[in-house]
Symmetry: C2
Subunit: 213 residues, 2 copies
DNA sequence: ACTTTTGAATAAAGTACAGTATTCTAATAT
DNA sequence: ATATTAGAATACTGTACTTTATTCAAAAGT
């Protein structure tokens, strides 16, 4: 699928090459000088400094440099470049503005890159799609996507992803007087007591919940 | 693979300049073979097909091609390439596995790229940081980040970002019998009736809520 | 027989170059 | 005076070419 909805790069169509044969034109003019009166050659477009194509008129509005890239990634890279690279999108805030009516800038907090914001440890991060509503009071709903970081230590009170009896669950981890429990946040569910620590494998700590409205 | 099976004639042009002194000296020494016996040159490393550096031994393990890139993005691109390009992280699911104990693969749903998932229209998307708890029952908490898409039509029932009297708010949009209202989802707040449509500017429709646990 | 040395073969990498595209102005035409 | 045109200047672009790096096996050494 090609989600390139916004083409910010103006692609210029290659026109045919009628205009660019300066050399041959000059040559023919020089050659024809013998047959044509010497005054014939047009004298338009005088020689002068400052003529020529201005810089920054290229596809990218700036200088370019050839770089070698693995062939398998070239398409993806071109896409990446065409969409302006990593796209930190603007971040606004609902905070009460100083005066009003308030221009957009009064609300502008800066810009935000989702990957930077949500994925602090790319090699240790994965996602989990939620099923069930056992953590509804923690704001975790069915079909939400959880951002999970394996590199964060699973401490008491953290919301974790754990495999219990081969079943993947999201619960809040409780360590209390030597006992380990997995606490749901929904009155209709009961806490799970972990009698044998070996029967539970903690996959990681939930850092964010992504909910679709 | 390589359409040109015929080996091109390897012509080496002596273009080096810095070494020209030494080279020419050596050359002349070598060339003036009168001094050196013709049998002298070592015969090791015999000529044979199949010798040479194997393909795929380069930095990327595959063929490369020079591509022109805007200079301002080269560093970023090299980073992008070095990290393996866009990194769709694994997505798991809590769904009940067929058997157990269940290996991780039983839960693997695929992979997910956050930007693809959350930002459908990059040019029309921005983020809003939430303040206040007027939408708490919609699962929107203080300091959550909202993903907002300007290109989605603000219909009745959608959660929207609107500027009312210069104040940015998130509410559910109600159109009812010709009246427009902004509905909070928290009993402690009152609906806002929009008497003058001109006093409200709808910025966009909320598509996702990102919550930090 | 085994190890070490050596140069050819070949791929990788970077860059220079030739060809192309574009703009500006003087010369010409209206 | 105004509009049009042609040509020079110069930036953009892709790729061919040079240079560098690496591997392999034959030859030489032990």
């Amino acid at each position: 699928m090609k989600p390139s909805s916004s083409p910010p790069i103006p692609l210029k169509l290659a026109t045919s090459d009628a205009t660019s044969d300066a050399t041959s034109a000059t040559k023919s003019a020089t050659k024809s000088a013998g047959t044509t009166p010497p005054s014939a050659p047009s004298k338009r477009g005088g020689a002068r400094p400052g003529a020529g194509r201005p810089a920054g008129q290229g596809r990218y509005g700036e200088a370019t440099k050839p770089v070698r890239l693995p062939v398998s990634m070239i398409d993806e890279i071109m896409d990446y470049v065409a969409t302006g690279g990593r796209q930190p999108l603007p971040l606004f805030s609902c905070a009460v503005a100083a005066g009003f009516p308030s221009p957009a800038d009064d609300h502008l907090e800066g810009s935000l890159d989702l990957n930077d914001y949500l994925v602090k440890h790319p090699a240790a991060t994965f996602f989990v799609r939620v099923s069930g509503d056992s953590m509804i009071n923690a704001g975790i709903h069915e079909d939400d996507i959880l951002v999970v970081d394996r590199s964060i230590e699973a401490r008491h009170g953290k919301i974790i992803i754990a495999a219990v009896d081969g079943q993947l669950t999201v619960k809040r981890l409780h360590h209390k007087s030597g006992k380990t429990m997995l606490m749901p946040e929904n009155d209709r569910y009961e806490p799970i007591t972990i009698s044998d620590e070996a029967s539970m494998v903690i996959w990681g700590v939930v850092t964010n919940v992504i909910h679709s409205v």
